[in-house]
Amino acid sequence: MAHRWGMTIDLDLCTGCQACVVACQAENNIPINTEENFQQRRAIEWIRVERYWEGEFPNVKARYIPVPCMMCENAPCEPVCPVYASYHTDQGLNFQVYNRCIGTRYCSVNCHWHVRFFNFWEPKWPDSLKQQLNPLVAVRSRGVMEKCSFCIQRIDHAEQSAQLQGRDVKDGDFTTACAQACPTRAIVFGDLNNADSEVAKTVASTKRGYQLLADLGTNPAVVYLKKIDADPLPEDSKHKYFDSSQYTRVKETVAVG
């Protein structure tokens, strides 16, 4: 059976430490995001940690959601690309071919998790970091879209080693950079089609699982486990997404942080 790579992210374990973000930047040759990039909202983070505040001061709670590419089964970004730069592999991965991409940016417009990033400028690294670039990952030029690949170079490497040993890829043979770096093991990566894998077991047994924007019907491969709140805030002080005051508050905290 073909693989269906997937991920579980336990929000109860996530501390918002951003280790996954740093690991991903290092693994996948992502250019350094400057403060200006963030202010212009052009930062490239294949996995990002979204932080939301819940409640009013002093009863405030921070909520963290790490968001990598969801690797949707019916990905909205795929049929809108005029040149097939965004396509689906037989392993259920949603893939970006940098060489094909002409930069219409329609995939980003139609990605509702905002995990497709555009190279607005030619990427640059400080001299001290040039030797650090991962030779297994292409450096993307300006004008192309890029996104989380579930560390395809690691998948390929694991499959090749397993093939040399004459066996299938086992659960635990490899993991993505973000999952590897996660100190609390909130992020777990594996094969959803392999019933013995940790992710498949978690997905099958958990009662806290949900997918982001599941109602769009794209069937993401990333399953979130809901936070267990021992001391929940009263219902009326909960975060409301579409309150415009909430928007300004989020904006302010972004500027300060």
Binding site: R41, R42, P76, C81, P82, G143, L216, V250
Partner: protein
């Protein structure tokens, strides 16, 4: 309602060839001013090619901005062509005669301008140029026909091809007129382009039949082009964009802005080329009536779009609508859309006296297009700024100076190309004008003598 007017044929030819034979002071001013803006436009595009899309104000997820808005706007302007020349030709509306060629030429140039925008807007335009156009369907590798971005250029280039053929077919007799009256390089050019036109009966029959056939074929374009442009947005899942009402809504909006732009163009031709005898008040009267109907239909669809967004009470759509109705600068745009697009011009167009006032028609038509540009911005940009529940990524789009220059450049490019065209070919069809006069006859009804049109088919 046709006013009787009989002019000697030589006078018609001489006066309508004025822009070709002479360059008036206003044309010089136009060439210089528009040329300066175009130089800035070329510089801005070169700057953007050199440094990348980073020089614009685009961000994530606001990946589409000014250039896409302007693209939709110019495609909208181009709908004047098919509306006026195809539909009015098929319905044999007499008042179309002085307007058709100008409207078609404006269509051609606005389509060209429109298509440059998504092209320079791509991240790697050089690749777009040699990979995507012309689409390589043969090997089945590149174009994904599911994408609206493949359907869109197909539709627009079909329209462009049709328009160029249409302009050419209807210009051949006039090119022959020019060929017989010119010398030098012009003589050679016109001789080739006139295709051996000798004014014989068979040629006229073929020409008339081709014109009608093309007009009929282009009727489908009337519906298809702007529907497909709306699908560039409607095919996505973005809140507010993802709606089927956009296709007819965009079409009617396009006709509204396009016909208004045709009015602007008619006034400018009157002022610049002195075509007062040919583009008359009665023409403004007729086009004003058409505009009242079109504008009202457009407002209906506008309301429908808002209604459909609010009707399903989807919080995602409501969030965008809330921003559109409450936040700067969308509030200002809303006012521009309603007041400039409808509530000032339409009551004015209701009165025959005002419809025949050239200055008033000019300013109302300019107003409509300010409103329509705002409408396109109002429709396209907010959908990306409040995309889904990711308040973390909600953002605001501010155009960069490069984008503003490019937009100004497109507004200079179309009139500049139109003036270049009118230096080579007459912008008002000479043969159609003469044909119209030949058809015009007096009919006695009782004691009154009424001007009437006698047609052969």
């Amino acid at each position: 309602m046709q006013e009787r007017r009989n002019l000697p044929q030589m006078e018609v030819i001489q006066e309508l060839l004025l822009p070709v034979t002479r360059t008036t002071m206003w044309m010089w001013i136009g060439f210089i001013v528009l040329g300066t803006i175009l130089a800035a436009f070329a510089f801005a595009v070169a700057w953007m090619f050199y440094w990348g899309i980073g020089v614009t104000g685009l961000n994530r997820p606001g990946m589409w901005g000014f250039m896409i808005v302007d693209f939709v706007f110019w495609i909208g302007i181009s709908h004047a062509g098919v509306m006026i020349s195809a539909i009015l030709r098929l319905t044999q509306a007499e008042w179309r005669r002085p307007v058709t060629r100008a409207a078609e030429v404006m269509t051609m140039f606005s389509l060209m301008t429109a298509m440059t925008l998504p092209f320079i807007h791509t991240g790697r335009p050089w690749r777009t140029a040699y990979w995507v156009f012309p689409y390589d369907f043969w090997r089945g590798i590149f174009p994904d026909v599911r994408s609206a971005l493949v359907m869109d250029p197909s539709a627009v280039f079909t329209y462009l091809t049709g328009t160029i053929l249409f302009i050419y077919i209807t210009t051949v007799p006039d090119i022959a007129t020019l060929r017989d009256r010119s010398t030098g390089w012009r003589k050679g050019l016109y001789r080739v382009l006139a295709l051996g036109w000798q004014n014989d009966e068979r040629q006229w029959m073929i020409q008339a039949a081709t014109g009608f056939l093309l007009a009929a074929l282009m009727l489908s374009i009337f519906v298809s082009v702007h529907s497909i442009v709306s699908w560039d947005f409607s095919f996505s899942l973005d809140p507010v964009w993802h709606t089927s009402v956009w296709a007819p809504y965009f079409v009617i909006g396009a006709v509204h802005s396009g016909v208004s732009a045709a009015v602007t163009l008619m006034v400018l031709m009157r002022w610049m080329f002195g075509f007062d005898k040919y583009i008359r008040e009665e023409h403004f009267d007729a086009i004003g009536r058409l505009l009242v109907v079109v504008a009202t239909a457009w407002v209906f669809f506008f309301m429908l779009d808002v209604f459909f967004a609010l009707f399903n009470q989807d919080p995602r759509e409501t969030a965008v609508m809330k921003m559109r109705f409450e936040q700067w600068p969308y509030t200002l745009m809303l006012v521009l859309i309603f007041v400039f697009g409808y509530f000032i011009p339409v009551p004015i167009w209701m009165f025959r006296k005002f419809r025949r006032n050239i200055k008033l028609m000019f300013w109302t038509s300019i107003m409509v297009n300010i409103g329509m540009w705002s409408e396109r911005y109002w429709l396209v940009v907010p959908g990306l700024e409040r995309k889904y529940e990711w308040t973390f990524d909600w953002n605001f789009y501010r155009p960069g100076i490069v984008e503003i220059t490019i937009i100004l450049g497109t507004f200079a490019l179309v009139p500049f190309l139109f003036m270049c065209f009118s230096k080579i070919f007459p912008p008002v069809s000479i043969w159609e004008e003469k044909e119209g006069q030949n058809f015009l006859q007096e009919i006695k009804v009782g004691k009154a003598s009424i001007p009437a049109i006698v047609r052969e088919f």
